[in-house]
Symmetry: C2
Subunit: 248 residues, 2 copies
């Protein structure tokens, strides 16, 4: 059984303040739960539906976690999803990994990223393209926001996110910074390096003036129609795809 107090505690983890105070975060949705419960990440408690438990009887961490069987109504009450047919886990926020520039790879960087769905999607994209690290300016959305975790579809377990002062990182960099600008070089034609920081700007303001001095290459995605811009995660995917396509 789960007490009212526990439901209230689980709900409270939707807020960044409570995550910071307790060191816990929420994982919801089938795909993310399966990956979490098969990983080496520590989980305190999981409310899981009978259907989920039947479908996945052999998840590695199930025995190490306090499991409570829950129905959809309870999951709706305790979690952030409107419909949740699998469960909610309360997991432990791991210690931050130190950021060390490894100068032989692509790193995705984003400035002042605000939308949790965008960060989750960026994690999934980075994980698809084999990018191991995402660098975010310190004023960006929290990685452990439930919407980030949910939309990352498990990729939060594999991609490291670092909150950094981007100016300070770029002052000490040994790789080029590639930024997207409307007047940048056509990315279909441009010679793209096989290592560097691929920098995405804020959803509505783009890349700030403060970072402009550190940009080594300005690229643009060719446009064939009339939309003013692409969503930041979509743009990141198209750029990374061009880098990878270039590389073969």
């Amino acid at each position: 059984m789960v007490s009212k107090k526990e439901i209230k505690f689980i709900r409270s983890l939707q807020s960044g303040k409570h995550r910071l105070a307790t060191g816990f975060f929420l994982v919801e949705g089938e795909k993310s739960l399966v990956e979490l419960l098969n990983s080496s990440w520590k989980t305190e408690l999981a409310l899981l539906t009978a259907a989920f438990l039947n479908k996945y009887p052999n998840l590695k961490n199930i025995r190490k976690t306090r499991i409570i069987e829950a129905d959809r109504e309870l999951l709706h009450k305790a979690g952030s999803l409107i419909t949740n047919e699998s469960g909610i886990a309360v997991a432990i926020i791991p210690a931050a990994v130190q950021f060390i520039e490894k100068s032989d790879r692509l790193i995705l960087a984003a400035e002042n990223l605000k939308d949790p769905g965008n960060l989750g999607t960026l994690l999934r994209i980075a994980d698809w393209y084999g990018i191991r690290e995402i660098l975010l300016s310190e004023n960006s959305v929290d990685l452990y926001n439930p919407k980030v975790i949910h939309s990352s579809m498990g990729s939060f377990l594999r991609v490291h996110v670092h909150y950094k002062n981007l100016v300070k990182v770029f002052q000490n960099k040994h790789m080029p910074v590639i930024g997207t600008f409307p007047e940048g070089e056509n990315i279909y034609i441009s010679r793209l390096p096989d290592r560097g920081y691929v920098l995405m700007g804020n959803e509505s303001q783009g890349i700030s003036d403060e970072l402009l001095p550190w940009i080594d290459l300005r690229v643009s995605i060719p446009r064939f129609g009339k939309a003013e811009s692409l969503n930041v995660a979509v743009a990141a995917a198209v750029i990374l795809d061009n880098f990878m396509r270039n590389r073969r």
Copy 2:
């Protein structure tokens, strides 16, 4: 002034049932409002903030629309956005445009698309890549859902969306259907046609068995990391980008 009854009416348009019964839909957010009020689409009523009206005094349709000045609190009460600093318009759903296959172009098609944010993002992507038409299976999310309109960033004004039985359309097609499958040809290498239907499957189930007989070309986006899949809108953008890149 706006009456309680009107606020209730505006709120009711968040539901598809009420949109169908009344023929109205909601447009929210700065970018979409500016484009709507500069377009030939008919708007019944708009609640706009003083800041929005000051910033855009010359929008074409402002004179033809009943304008009510509103503050953020009222917009929060009447609309679907948590923060809305610009306004809400009640616009008239235009008559559906007939779908006629024009066999010289790319058409984006999606089956059983469920997430409103994904449809909005697909509209924006189609509009970026110069795709004029999106074909959706009849069980897909409603175009006039406020989240679709909002995330399309104005592209709903330019891209036509048709709800169709996809099997029936494909039975009479004169162009290839291109589908994405994990075992498809590498899209970096594959010879892509410059016309056809680019078909995206459902967010979790992919392309259904019913449509498989109509697929002429199976492609895949190369993967370099460990994510199991890409978000449907992200995948569509990467595929369209490869088509366009191919074409030059």
